[in-house]
Amino acid sequence: MTKFVVGIGNLLLRDEGVGCHVAHALQEIGPSGVEVMDAGTCADALQLIQDIDKLVIVDAAKGGGKPGQIYRFRPEDIGREQKTFLSLHDMDLLDDLTLMKIRGDIRETVIIGVEPKELSWGLELSTEVGQKMPQIIDVVLAEVNNTSPKGEMKC
């Protein structure tokens, strides 16, 4: 049973990097039986992973909620738009997940999204998203362990 948490995003654009911040925090905690990767902005980082039972992706997601709002959804919930690839930068998360299926080695994928507030230049999370970090980590750990998030959560 292989479980993987992959944080994606750009650390230089404040809340855009929330996935990377979560990956770093999880690497500190070192949850057993879970591999953690900070994939940054590397479009094809998921190609480095093979044979996964459960993949949890953490990224910023614009869903119309308040900053720090946590979402849980699956790749098929995201609309795919058609585009012409000119650069390797045009490869996005969905393309990467789609390509992984060619090799058929991914069984379940869940995306944990976090509503961003600040997407401007800077390395720090906004106060709102920063304060939500413990809850985001709980949600991710619960997801990867198939349990309910621990403690009481004020939403």
């Binding site: 750009n10 230089l12 902005t41 094809d44 614009k62 946590i70 585009k83 000119l86 490869m91 004020k154």
Partner: protein, 519 residues
């Protein structure tokens, strides 16, 4: 007269935009633009200089390894230790960069360029027993065409058996890509965004175990390059040989040089490197490279004219998004006020002109096999071919580098942070000449400038209204079918453009994630 705009920007904020005006079946005028204000330099100011290696890597998810190398070389020079890097550190940096470049070039060919020439959709009718090809067939039958569409139709020329083989190699290339990344991670701690390359050297020391693991992975990569990648590129080149006549470009090539062979020479422009620095043109006359001749011009960029024509070490970022006549967020880097193309083609032909024996032998033998002249390399197919030849040269050089490592000996040198200093780091990134410049005051970064390869290649018109390299490569191209302008995308992709990573926020269907709220 029609205008063809290829603009993936509609979906993500800020990428590459190409506009071609077609008149009488020919591109009359072309504009290439970067639609994202980068401004990375602005967040560098006031920080600890050592942050540069960490921060600049995050500017790009495709070539972070090259940024870490340029930043380390830049800081080596600013810290006055460029001639003191231990051999282990120098070689391990070469190996991390080399592994990343091999992986990158393979990825670029199979997962971006090949789709222009290899017809993956034809596999829907595949009836053989290859597991790889059936995995593609199943993939298509599930309706998941993903990165294979949209595409332009009407010019897929490979015979069925050759086409099938190329698609099987497409699947195989994923594993090769992975092996290259694993090699880089073994020395650099992690990939992407390695932690190993630092000012002074690298953070780990080589061990016999790591050397052995590198060697067997490299062996597999070499076999793939020799028996699969290079032959596939040659097959595509021969089948689409008219693409040696398309996309000529500006005809001037510039290379900064890469892979340090000498740890004792502080001056990067004099240091002995595996691929040497220099310039050349279609005459194939070699000229020495002088880094003081680089300028960045902004007449057609959204920056204040007051900063135009400066050397990058004096560069500044003063946005002016309402400027008349401007159409790009990229500046126009120029060398001696002339337009120069950078990239694998530049590295190969500059080294060819300089008489680099390994490069000359390989280029000549490949040209002889395909019946081409060196000047034919200045083309769409020449760029694709040069990238594959470079991959082979790096892969073939790396076993020796691995064997030169000395377990137990140091891989980095200590240094003192200067209060006042300046530095320059130049390297051949996968996509071409990459430069970092730093100015340190009171122990902090006072100014940091990054000039990327795609800024050179995708640059807009300059102060003298000279179009950039990609714009020149597009201009004059015959377009067979305006509804399917595959000539344009093939020209663009052969340059392997890479603009700064933009905001990759996932946006769900209808922008309403309400029903997915957790807390």
């Amino acid at each position: 007269m029609g205008k063809i705009a290829i603009d993936p920007v509609t979906r993500i904020e800020g990428h590459l935009k190409i506009e071609a005006v077609v008149d009488g079946g020919k591109v009359k005028e072309a504009k290439s633009a970067g639609m994202l204000f980068r401004g990375l330099e602005l967040i560098m100011r006031g920080r600890d200089p050592r942050d540069a290696q960490r921060i600049t890597q995050r500017v790009c998810g495709v070539c972070p390894t090259s940024h870490s190398t340029a930043a380390a070389l830049n800081l080596d020079s600013a810290f006055d230790i460029a001639d003191k890097i231990p051999d282990n550190g120098r070689i391990m940096r070469n190996l991390i960069l080399g592994a990343a470049h091999i992986a990158d070039h393979i990825l670029h060919f199979y997962h971006l360029v090949a789709l222009d020439y290899v017809d993956v959709a034809r596999l829907a009718k595949y009836e053989g027993s290859s597991p790889a090809l059936n995995s593609i067939k199943d993939f298509i039958s599930r309706g998941e065409l993903g990165p294979f569409v949209p595409r332009y139709e009407g010019d897929y020329r490979l015979a069925d058996d050759v086409n099938e083989q190329a698609v099987a190699h497409y699947v195989m290339a994923f594993d090769m890509r992975r092996k290259g990344q694993e090699m880089a991670a073994m020395l650099g701690g992690k990939m992407p965004h390695n932690m190993g390359i630092m000012p002074g050297g690298v953070t780990s020391t080589p061990t016999v175990d790591v050397m052995a693991s590198l060697l067997w992975r490299l062996k597999e990569l070499q076999e793939f390059v020799d028996n699969v990648y290079l032959p596939d590129v040659v097959t595509v080149a021969q089948t689409y040989s008219d693409y040696f006549e398309i996309g000529h470009g500006c005809g001037n090539l510039l290379a900064y040089g890469s892979y340090e062979l000498d740890g004792k020479e502080a001056d990067l422009s004099k240091r002995k490197r595996f691929f040497r620095a220099g310039t050349t043109s279609t005459s194939l006359k070699f000229d020495q490279f002088d880094p003081t001749r680089i300028t960045e011009e902004v007449k057609h960029s959204w920056y204040a004219d007051s900063i135009s024509g400066r050397h990058p070490s004096q560069g500044d970022v003063v946005p002016d998004e309402k400027k008349k006549g401007a159409y790009s967020w990229l500046k126009s880097p120029r060398y001696g006020k002339t337009v120069f193309e950078v990239g694998p083609l530049a590295r190969m032909m500059v080294n060819y002109a300089a008489g680099n024996p390994a490069v000359k032998t390989l280029v000549d033998s490949t040209l002889a096999r395909t019946g081409l002249k060196p000047q034919d390399m200045f083309s769409v197919m020449g760029r694709n071919l040069a990238r594959a030849l470079e991959t082979k040269l790096i892969a073939d050089a790396m076993p020796d580098w691995i064997l030169q490592l000395k377990p137990g000996e140091p891989a980095c040198v200590s240094y003192k942070l200067p209060e006042e200093s300046s530095g320059m780091g130049l390297v051949g990134a996968a996509r071409g000449a990459l430069g970092h410049w730093i100015e340190i005051k009171e122990g902090k970064i006072a100014n940091y400038q990054v000039v990327t390869p795609s800024t050179w290649n995708i640059s807009p018109r300059d102060d003298k209204d000279q179009p950039g390299p990609l714009e020149q490569a597009l201009t004059g191209t015959k377009i067979r079918d305006e509804a399917n302008p595959f000539e344009i995308v093939r020209i663009v992709r052969a340059f392997d453009p890479c603009l700064a990573c933009s905001i990759h926020v996932v946006s769900p269907k209808g922008h309403d994630l309400g029903r997915f709220r957790v807390c």
